[in-house]
């Protein structure tokens, strides 16, 4: 599927920028030279300067690194939690199944933003709050996905055959459930990471996310927004980075056969 390869390619490039950028970049994300505020690219700052004369290239690569780490961490935790509980619920069934799905539906009813905001109040550091808040919201998608697949598989003759042939639940999970859930996981993970990044940026935009001077995509957009006429090039960078990140993930997710 060409769109999926396009997506992976784009994501690869951004991850590379996030990993290698900060290492090879001379100035660092915090060094200010007020005289160079909103200036164009030069030898030291390859993407130009922001409104406080800080190197855009450094801040952009750090911001990508931050957003990607939190988003992937949150989605990975959510996936692990969701899949485990989903499989457990469908395997055990009965009150455990009903209890867990009730919990899932209750949390689903609450906007993800609220969960992250509340976690922001409960947990001291913001990245931790984002990780917990986003994981607490996203595990539901994985839970429902796994549970629906598991329920249809567990009722299938293949599982009945396994039981008759003396195989245990681990074999059933490894040989029947997991290969079935695997491909769907890619789509759900890609969408999960995309939603996480969008949420971090949105909260940064309404200035309840990361705090200055941490480089974060949403916060950078907010800080550069006022000077969008003077230096449109500066504002476009975080926007383009966020757009490219979300586009690559959507293409990866959307590229189903």
């Amino acid at each position: 599927m060409t769109t999926r390869h396009l997506g992976f390619g784009l994501l690869g490039a951004l991850v590379a920028l996030a990993l290698i950028g900060p290492l090879i970049e001379p100035l660092g994300p915090f060094k200010q030279t007020l005289l160079r505020a909103l200036a164009g690219p030069d030898a030291l700052a390859w993407f130009g300067y922001d409104h406080l004369g800080r190197s855009m290239f450094a801040r952009l690569s750090q911001a990508l690194r931050l957003s990607l780490t939190i988003a992937f961490a949150a989605t990975a935790t959510a996936a692990a939690l969701g899949i485990f509980l989903g499989a457990l619920a469908s395997w055990r069934g009965g009150w455990l199944d009903r209890g867990l799905s009730l919990l899932a539906d209750s949390v689903l009813a609450l906007p993800a933003l609220l969960m992250v905001l509340m976690m922001g109040v409960i947990l001291p550091s913001t990245p931790l709050a984002f990780w917990a808040g986003l994981a607490a919201v996203q595990w539901i998608e994985f839970f429902r996905l796994t549970r629906s697949v598991a329920r249809s598989q567990l009722a299938s003759p293949a599982v009945e055959a396994a039981r008759l042939q003396g195989f245990g639940p681990v074999w059933v999970f490894r040989r029947i459930l997991w290969p079935e859930i695997g491909p769907m996981l890619r789509t759900a993970t890609a969408f999960g990471v995309a939603n996480a990044i969008a949420a971090i940026a949105a909260l940064g935009f309404v200035s309840v996310g990361m705090r200055a001077p941490t480089p974060e995509l949403g916060l950078m957009m907010v800080e550069l927004l006022p000077s969008w006429r003077e230096a449109p090039f500066a504002l476009l960078q975080p926007v383009a980075a966020c757009f490219a990140l979300l586009l690559s993930l959507n293409l990866i997710a959307g590229g189903r056969e």
């Binding site: 915090f30 060094k31 200010q32 007020l34 505020a37 409104h51 406080l52 004369g53 200035s207 705090r211 200055a212 001077p213 800080e223 927004l225 006022p226 000077s227 969008w228 006429r229 003077e230």
Partner: protein, 500 residues
């Protein structure tokens, strides 16, 4: 079935012709959010929109003028003030403004921790056409306190049984028709206004939190008056032909509050060294975009409190480093100053409600690092500053202090520097200064006495002034008579009009 559903949605969403802004309505956009119809919470907006008025007014220089009280006098011992109520004034619900109504409104504000709670008030009564306020001790600044928005006068019908304000019934030039907190207020001309009916037929107030959106509303003509523009929009709107940008300096100062009890700032030399490390001109240009570097605590707008003869605060990082070295702060391996093992690392508190504060903090962080001070910025809720002041754990805080709460800065000085205050000095003790402030508050003071106080602040530097604020507003060229008041009390809506 589905197609019928979406068709209905289309009809509902058909944009009616954009309501042509009927000629005599002025749309105002500002960042302030109306919390409730309660003068204590949002009185400043009601005052600015000429919906509500106070007993005493003030002009652009801070001099007091008669408001709802046309004259007032004080007894010999200064303990009993008599405010004569202007005759013929009616509230918006046509009930007359009597001394009893005014006294009731002031008592309500006094009991609800309004500004009168800061004055030594003993009792507020009404005698005939006068409101009599008896004090425990003499207090010359009382009239200035009655000009503050929290002492706004509402009709008796406005106050509910349980003490909450249920309706906004003032005496101003405009009567409120729609009040939808937090972002919308609409008022129409009150023909029975004692100062003669206004020229504008109606005003629409819209609370818009984002500065960029407000700037766009000015540019697209959606708002005739846009208040509080961010620096970048000021430069851009200057080039827009249909709009003129006004800016006036305010008695509001960008301050760096220090904990004088902390080992970093306990000597004057250390505080002076810190002040020398700050390039105020560079900072003002980069962040505030107008020449606002503070040479001393009080801006020219503060009248007698501003002493042109005072030596301005300088910028000399080398001298700052030398001064710190003299005070025993030796640079460690990582360039951070140390004094018998303790690094010069401080937490700088600030809040994001005013967009320029986090930016300034980021700039200060770098400037102080040049002289070896490690700063960690904590941009959190504004209440953290008074909370940490009370707990004694505050080290450094950056905020904008408004000296125009009461037309005469003495009100704020008394709260902040006699001897300390949540938003003023901390761990600083100067009995002479405190006594002088109290004397001026009680009996008023001469220009020389005020200048002396300014000189002490300049010398002792309990807090380090950084910049003087300017109030910016964009007014559409088709609107005449708008006033930009340095004391942020009015927009001049009473006299404004729209000319095509």
């Amino acid at each position: 079935m589905l197609s019928r559903l979406s068709l209905a949605a289309l009809i509902a969403a058909l944009p009616a012709l954009p309501a042509l802004a009927d000629p005599a309505t002025l749309a105002i956009a500002a960042p302030f959010e109306i919390k409730a119809a309660d003068p204590l919470l949002s009185g400043d907006i009601f005052l600015k929109l000429d919906v509500m008025e106070t007993l005493v007014n003030s002009d652009a220089t801070g001099a007091l003028l008669p408001g709802l009280a046309d004259r007032w006098s004080v007894s010999e011992d200064g303990l009993s003030w008599r405010f004569h109520i202007r005759p013929g004034v009616t509230f918006h619900d046509a009930s007359p403004l009597t001394a009893e109504a005014a006294a009731a409104a002031l008592t309500w504000s006094w009991k609800k921790e309004g500004i009168l709670a800061k004055a030594p008030v003993a009792a507020i009564t009404a005698e005939g056409e006068e409101v009599v306020i008896t004090l425990k001790t003499a207090f010359a600044a009382l009239p200035a306190f009655l000009a503050e928005y929290r002492t706004g006068i509402l009709a008796p019908a406005a106050y509910g049984a349980d003490g909450t304000v249920t309706a906004l019934i003032g005496t101003g030039a405009f009567r409120v028709t729609v009040l939808e907190p937090p972002l919308r207020l609409e008022a129409v001309r009150f023909d029975g206004y004692w100062g003669g009916p206004a020229k504008l037929e109606a005003i629409h107030y819209a609370g818009v939190s984002r500065a960029e959106t407000r700037a766009l509303m000015a540019e697209s003509g959606d708002a005739g008056l846009v208040v509080n523009l961010d620096p970048a929009s000021v430069t851009r709107l200057a080039s827009v032909k249909t709009v003129t940008v006004h800016s006036v300096s305010l008695p509001r100062v960008l301050l760096l509050k220090l904990n004088a009890a902390a080992p970093f700032f306990d000597t004057v030399a250390e505080r002076r060294a810190l002040s020398l490390a700050i390039d105020r001109a560079g900072l003002a240009q980069a962040v505030l975009r107008y020449p606002a570097a503070a040479t001393q605590m009080f801006p020219p707008a503060a009248g007698a409190w501003h002493d042109p003869a005072l030596a301005p605060l300088g910028y000399d990082p080398e001298a700052a480093k030398a001064a710190f070295a003299a005070a025993g702060w030796v640079p460690g391996p990582d360039g951070i100053l140390q004094h018998d093992g303790q690094p010069f690392a401080v937490e700088l508190l600030t809040y994001p409600d005013r967009p320029e504060l986090p930016l300034t903090a980021a700039v200060l962080d770098q400037m102080l690092r040049e002289v070896g001070i490690a700063v960690t910025i904590n941009s959190t809720n504004s209440s953290e500053i008074p909370a940490k002041h009370a707990a004694g754990t505050l080290q450094m805080a950056l905020f904008a202090r408004n000296f125009a709460l009461v037309p005469d800065p003495i009100g704020t000085l008394m709260q902040d520097y006699a001897p300390t205050g949540d938003w003023g000095a901390m761990g600083w003790d100067n009995p002479a200064f405190t006594a002088a402030v109290r004397k001026i508050a009680a009996e008023g003071g001469t220009a020389a006495e005020k200048a002396a106080l300014s000189a002490t602040l300049q010398a002792d530097l309990p807090v380090v002034p950084i910049a003087w604020y300017q109030q910016t507003a964009a007014v559409s060229n088709s609107v005449k008579g708008i006033v930009i008041d340095p004391y942020e009390r009015t927009f001049g809506l009473k006299s404004a009009e729209i000319v095509q």
